[in-house]
Amino acid sequence: MPKITKPNNDDYIRMYTQMVRIRAFEDNANQLYLSAKMPGLTHMYTGQEAVAVGICEALEDRDKITSTHRGHGHCVAKGADFKQMFCELLGKEEGYCRGKGGSMHIADQSHGNLGANAIVGGSMGIATGAALTAKKLGKDDVAVCFFGDGATAQGLWYEVMNMAALWHLPVIYACENNGYSEYTKTDEIAAGSLTSRAEAFGIEAFQVDGQDVLAVNKLTQQLVARCRNGEGPFFIELETYRYHGHHVGDINREYYRSRDEEAAWREKRDPITNFGNWLLKEGVAEDTELSEIRNAINADAEAAVAYALDAHYPDLSEVDMHVFAANSG
């Protein structure tokens, strides 16, 4: 059994902090939308924080992730900086992608985030390929592929699972099952069982409460260690919930899910509240410490927003730059 580090108090605080950072980022992004300052639409990660944080805290910078249209949470959790993220959301030159990618393509190569993706399931091959690179180059890096329950309908997943299993690749397929794909319940679009689908390819599959950051983190630590040890691939189904609509513009959503259902998740299963309470109960932190953390992060986020709003757009000459990468020599 590979060695796994038990989280200590610092780790707990970091997990809490990272979850709060995601929430703060999203609240501000939503505000930007509501105040008509953000170009286009965006998909809020709010509610799912424990998934991104529980998983990414089990990874190193050298480990890769691929993300989705609902990707801000993964980006923050993997170590990204608020300013460059908000700049990207606003199409500014200082954004992670010089404003060319926006919310749905935000990437952060220095922390191993290969990017969000606007094609549902579109990154399943990319993550698997990243794992292949690790194996080829003799590194023990791991790749995590985030995707939603809806994405499990894409045939690509079965193609790459087959190869990942045949080649024993160090990739973890992490399905954030938030119960919906757009305006449709998962049950209506997914026959059978998701874990069985992975198991049918000989891939070990797990289900975990995606609102419990410690449970997610513990499982991921184990699987990452086993991946580094050549025992991959793995599949995790994480039960979770998005608090907002499918995207920021999806306001009237009672035709597909009830307010009661939403309220129940927010009130009983909020990953931040519950983990905060646990920290208090276990004596890891005092109430004041937690609220200091939250306040500092909120201030940070607001400062980053202000910075991004002021930042400049790329020069128009950038429009046909980066179509092709330069070749040296």
Partner: protein, 332 residues
Amino acid sequence: MTRELTLSKAVNEALAEEMRRDETVFIIGEDVAEAGTPFKILSGLVEEFGTDRVMDTPIAEPGFMGIAVGAAITGTRPVVDLMFGDFLYLVMDQLCNQAAKTHYMSGGKLNVPLVLRTNLGATRRSAAQHSQSLHALVAHVPGLKVALPSSAYEAKGLLKTAIRDNNPVVIFEDKLMYQDTAVVPEEEYLIPFGVANIKREGRDITLVATSSMVQVAEAAADILAAEGISAEVIDPRTIVPLDEDTILNSVRKTSRAMVIDEGHQSFGVTGEIASRISEKAFYHLDAPVIRMGAMDVPVPFSPVLEDITVPTAQGVADNARKLVRGELVHGA
């Protein structure tokens, strides 16, 4: 009594009318039923026709495209809803290797009466994977018809024709135009394929423009008119089949032409139409045929960049003016 409808509502009406007329017509795609698509185009249809005829699918474009092909071959008329034109890449095999070729490969014995409804158009701040105008790709594949409605009126008439066609038809709506209105008659009408629409008559130059670019060409014609230049604006309506005659006759009259389209310029629609004009109306041309497509770049997210990737009325007018005045656009 005339009435105005949005393009979105016109599409909705076309579908409702055809579904009432023919029980074998059905809609299949993602979030088409209760949600009525993210653009709310199909609102109300599931209430009238039920979930058997307005079928929500999993997020599996190749899968439901393939299912539609099989359904079409065996006696129904599926209207496939592809949420974004960018997802065409996912269905290309089923569309181009299967649907497009089945009639021919079977020696005319199997038909694939299927409509693929999707969209095109940038400047919605949706970035590179939700902003493409990929109609040139399907136009290159023999066996597919390709319709490009440029208004609510066109959208309704062309879609009804598409549904009745015995072949696979890909119809691209402009996402930016869903809320645009036009006069749409209460009475039923169809718009035949392969008959271009002379949107505006003119003497000095022919502007051939497709889909979203018809508005742009008309606005350019306004600018030019104010300067005393008379531009003829032609909307081909379908690029497969293409009404070459109407275009060529116009150019024979005006002696000058531009082609404007929102797909990437290279290896796309502008090259096809421009080269046909240059090839077949060569001896009537007083100036080179100028093409204006979208820039050959992935669509950037940043609004300042995105806006300059697509032809504008001013840009069209500037080039047209040069042509009419005998100035060089590209050097000699």
